[in-house]
Each structure stands twice: as structure tokens, then as C-alpha cells.
């Protein structure tokens, strides 16, 4: 248990550093799509919601199901909407050379 925790902290630290280095390089031009993309990726929390709604619980089964299902709805709408709008925005960014489609 204790070791698991430490591993998790390592993962968090490394991911945060990678995040800083990678995201610092994102041009201010794309800061809006950056926010919608990270928001979609963040909705990976849906994995936790799926397990919550689908696993067998001896106690509080209804609570787990109801909260889990609402959580799945919220996260899924972020995944679907987030990827869609990010792609729509990025499609609009064109360089001078490439003439509009």
C-alpha cells in the first residue's frame, strides 16, 4: 500500500514535469484548442466512473450506480464534445501558402 502510494507520487511528479515542458512549447496561437484538448483528455476520469457504475457493491449499491452513471454522462460529454471542437478549431488554422478549402 505504502509503496503503491510512493509510485503514484513518482508518476504524478514526472507527468507534471513532462506537462510543463511539453505545454510550454505550445504556441499562444493554439491556447484555446490546448484547453479544450486537455479538458477532453482529463475526462479519462470516465474510467473510474465506469468501474464505479459497473462493479458489484455489497453496500451503497444504488448510490454507486446513480452517481457513477451521472459521472459517466458528464465525462463522456467532455470526451465527445472536447475532441470534436478541438479538431474543428484546428482545422481552421491555415498557413498563408495553403489556400482556403
Amino acid at each position: 500500500m505504502k509503496l503503491d502510494l510512493l509510485t503514484s507520487l513518482y508518476v504524478f511528479m514526472l507527468a507534471a514535469f513532462i506537462g510543463f515542458e511539453v505545454i510550454r512549447r505550445v504556441s499562444p496561437l493554439l491556447h484555446t484548442p490546448l484547453m479544450s484538448l486537455t479538458n477532453a483528455l482529463d475526462a479519462i476520469a470516465v474510467v473510474g466512473a465506469i468501474i464505479l457504475a459497473g462493479e458489484f457493491h455489497e453496500h451503497h449499491a444504488t448510490l454507486a450506480k446513480v452517481l457513477g452513471t451521472i459521472a459517466i454522462i458528464a465525462a463522456t460529454s467532455n470526451i465527445v464534445g472536447g475532441f470534436l471542437i478541438t479538431d474543428r478549431m484546428l482545422k481552421m488554422f491555415k498557413a498563408s501558402g495553403s489556400k482556403k478549402a
Partner: protein, 465 residues
């Protein structure tokens, strides 16, 4: 048993691949050329992780999962097709959804595990729930203000910071009590409800000009709460995604606060409400020079180098397509046209870039404040459309100005400055802009969309070369 272990190992491997794809996704986002590949990578990672989880051995009931996935898609698709001008409120809303998911899962996890929750677990769970709930209501408030269903004016009262900090303080004390003894289950609802109230109170004093900072900050909170959820569920993938999102929101918050000359602690504690009510009163009727669309068109046509500075007013007036026509008309005459974009122009980071890209303006013409500022002394005309405070030279020189020290676009160094503005009424922050009274400044009074349209008509009527 062995089969279960293997399938668990397989699932963890899938999560590992998904985490890698997420990182690549953000890496490819660094340039517009590879950015769409980044979206693909993110989508594939997400699909793998979700499919892998659905095959998770512990799942006994798929009914509600299926209902959730279908309903979520039904809500998500229209949210993916909102108008580009509505992107700030859509983003705020999606922060709220993300926070809702995290808060609900956290709440359920508490009741499933209590009272036997290890101390560290309880601490992380509290962090998850406090950040999640305050992000939920805070983001809903921000979305409401941006959508103009809530009053946009900041509401400020005496002792506001004290009230807010006390609320947060109480929530933290309750969390500490729960960590010391997780069997005090009756205390748990407090760490959900108090941050929910705090989230509302936090956004009450926020005005429109502060929105880019606030949205970035809420983005960061949403990421951190998701990372905390990863600790609770022991999901490394969620920790990675949350850390990436948290880092992204953090970087954007710091950028925005720098661009508004706010200190970092100011951002962290969410104390955005400006403590300036001193502006009222001294509005003198200083002279301004105004010009017609015809005169403006003549000056623009004679210029070699034009820099257009867009602001939130352009978004409100939906003028970006007319601005594109202006860009085309001038470019055709051989005028070099660029756009100067302040980091906090609009209502969220990058807002102006998205609107102008939507109007088909090539992105290599959209320049950041630091890139464009050196160009203004060689610029013939700086045309300001719906921007105000970000061009206010008082920020450079007037120590008594509330925006003193804020980095601005040096439009006043251009040979001629043109400002499209509805009237002489002060901008959102209520601050007088001396730029409008310079000898080289021409005020173009009117609606941004209509006025730009008139200039385009004059230009295409010819006779100005």
C-alpha cells in the same frame, strides 16, 4: 486466478499506451502543422482506455454504463458544434462537467470505503472533493457570466475576501478532522457543500476582463482534482492526465496573470476583484479627432504596413468575417497586414486567434504581443477593433492608473492610430484611455462590424490608390 492477473496486466499495459498517446497528443499540439495528429493520438488513447476498462473483469452490469455513454454522447455532440464565439462559455461548462464527474466518483468512493479509510487516502479524497466541488460551481458561474445569463458586472462587498477565505478555511478544517478520524461520516457532506458555496462566492467578484485568468485557473483545479482521483483509485493513467491538465491550466494562469500584471499569489487565492473604485468622477471632456469610413479607407490604402489589434468587442460584434474582407482588400493592394494579439484579449487564452482563424486569416499573420511590439514604430496604421485596456499607454507611464505595469500593445508608436469604438464611454474596467486623445489618433465611431464593412466598401469602390 492466473487469468484474472493476466487480464489485469493487459489492462494496465493498455493504460500505459494511452498515457503515452496523451503525452504525444500534447506534444504534437505545439505547432499548427502537427496539431490535428495530436487530436487523433488523444482519441486513440481514450478509445483504448475506455474499451479496455469495459472489458475489466470486475464489471457485472453494463446497463447503466451504456445509458451513461449514450446520454453523454447525446450531450457532447452539440457541445462540440457550438459557434466559435461561444467557445469560452463552452470551455467553462466542460470544466464544470469534468469537476462533476470527479466529485461524484469521490463521494461514492468515500461511502463505499468509510469508515475504514487510510489517512493518506482520506487526505487525497478530501482534496479531490474540495477542488472538484469548487470547480463545479465556479465554472458554472463563469459559464453563466460568459453566456450573459448572469450579471457580468463584478459584485464586490466589504469583507469579501474574509468571507471567502473563511469558507475555504472551514472546509479544510473539516477535511483535517476527517483525516484524523474518517469514521466521523456525518462531517463528510460539509466538504462537498462548503466548497460548492465557495465556488459561487469566488466568481461573484469576477468581471469579464478577468475571465481568461479565471478559466485557466479553473482548468488547473479540474486537472488537479482528477489527479487526486487517480491517487484514490490507484489509476496511473488518471494521475498522468490530471497532472498534464493541471500543468496546462497552471501555465496558462501564470501567462494570463503576467499579461494583466497580477501577482501569482493573487491568482492562486482567486482574489481577482479589483480594489479600485476610485475611477469615477474625473471624466473630462478632452478633445478627440474622429474620421469617416471614407477617410479611414484612404489612409489605410496609402499605408505600407498595417497592424490590426482585435479585442473582445470584435467578438461581440461578430466582426471577424468583415475583418477578413478588410484584410483581403488591403493585401490585394499590396499592403502588409498583420494582427497584434494581446494574451488576455477576449475571454479566454487564444480566443482571438480562434475567431480570426475561423474567418480564414492565415495563422502566420497572427502575432503575439512580444512578437509584434517591435513592429509598431515602423507601422503606418494601427487599427484597433474592440480592444481597450490592452492598448492603454497609461499602463506604461501613469503610476496612479489601476492597470499601471500591465504589458500592453504599443499601438501609440504607430504613425497613425485608428480606434473603432461605439462611443467615448470608458472600457470594461472603467479606465480612461489617453490613447484616444493623442494627435495621431483617429476615432472611428460606430459598430465594429458595420464600420469595417463600410471601410471595405470604400476600398473596393476604388480611387484610393
Amino acid at each position: 486466478m492466473r487469468a484474472i492477473l493476466n487480464s489485469q496486466a493487459l489492462l494496465e499495459t493498455i493504460y500505459l499506451i494511452a498515457a503515452m498517446l496523451f503525452i504525444l497528443s500534447l506534444k504534437w499540439l505545439s505547432s499548427p502543422a502537427s496539431a490535428r495528429r495530436g487530436v487523433r493520438a488523444g482519441e486513440i488513447g481514450m478509445l483504448l482506455a475506455v474499451l479496455g476498462t469495459l472489458l475489466h473483469h470486475g464489471i457485472v452490469d453494463y446497463t447503466w454504463i451504456a445509458i451513461g455513454l449514450v446520454l453523454g454522447t447525446v450531450i457532447g455532440v452539440p457541445l462540440g458544434f457550438v459557434q466559435m464565439t461561444a467557445v469560452p462559455q463552452r470551455t467553462a461548462l466542460s470544466h464544470a462537467f469534468g469537476a462533476l464527474c470527479v466529485t461524484l466518483v469521490g463521494t461514492a468512493e468515500f461511502y463505499l470505503r468509510a469508515p475504514a479509510v487510510p489517512k493518506f487516502m482520506m487526505a487525497v479524497l478530501s482534496l479531490e472533493i474540495i477542488l472538484g466541488s469548487l470547480t463545479l460551481t465556479g465554472s458554472l458561474m463563469a459559464a453563466g457570466k460568459l453566456q450573459e445569463v448572469l450579471p457580468q458586472r463584478p459584485i464586490i462587498y466589504k469583507g469579501q475576501n474574509l468571507v471567502n477565505l473563511s469558507l475555504l478555511g472551514i472546509a479544510i478544517i473539516v477535511a483535517v478532522l476527517l483525516v484524523i478520524d474518517p469514521s466521523r461520516m456525518s462531517l463528510f457532506p460539509l466538504i462537498v457543500v462548503i466548497p460548492l458555496i465557495f465556488g459561487v462566492m469566488m466568481i461573484v467578484p469576477i468581471g469579464g476582463a478577468d475571465m481568461p485568468t479565471v478559466i485557466s485557473l479553473l482548468n488547473s483545479y479540474a486537472g488537479l482534482s482528477a489527479a487526486a482521483m487517480g491517487f484514490v483509485l490507484d489509476s496511473k493513467l488518471l494521475i498522468v492526465a490530471g497532472a498534464l491538465d493541471g500543468a496546462s491550466g497552471f501555465i496558462l494562469s501564470v501567462n494570463m496573470s503576467k499579461a494583466m500584471n497580477r501577482s501569482f499569489s493573487n491568482v492562486l487565492f482567486g482574489a481577482f476583484g479589483q480594489e479600485q473604485a476610485t475611477v469615477a468622477g474625473k471624466v473630462e471632456a478632452k478633445p478627440v479627432r474622429s474620421a469617416t469610413a471614407e477617410e479611414a479607407a484612404a489612409i489605410l490604402a496609402a499605408a505600407n504596413k498595417v497592424v490590426i489589434v482585435p479585442g473582445y468587442g470584435m467578438a461581440v460584434a461578430q466582426a471577424q468575417h468583415k475583418v477578413r474582407e478588410l484584410y483581403d482588400a488591403l493585401t490585394k493592394r499590396g499592403v502588409d497586414v498583420k494582427f497584434g494579439i494581446h494574451p488576455v484579449a477576449g475571454r479566454m487564452p487564444g480566443h482571438m486567434n480562434v475567431l480570426l482563424a475561423e474567418a480564414d486569416i492565415p495563422y502566420d499573420k497572427l502575432l503575439d504581443m512580444d512578437e509584434i511590439n517591435g513592429d509598431f514604430p515602423q507601422t503606418d496604421v494601427a487599427l484597433i477593433i474592440g480592444a481597450n485596456d490592452v492598448t492603454n499607454p497609461a499602463a506604461r507611464s501613469d503610476t496612479s492608473s489601476p492597470i499601471y505595469g500591465m504589458p500592453i500593445l504599443d499601438v501609440d508608436k504607430a504613425r497613425t492610430v485608428m480606434v473603432i469604438k461605439r462611443s467615448m464611454a470608458a472600457g470594461f474596467a472603467g479606465i480612461e484611455n489617453p490613447l484616444y486623445h493623442l494627435d495621431r489618433t483617429l476615432m472611428l465611431f460606430g459598430d465594429a462590424k458595420g464600420f469595417v464593412g463600410n471601410i471595405v466598401r470604400e476600398l473596393s469602390a476604388g480611387g484610393h490608390s
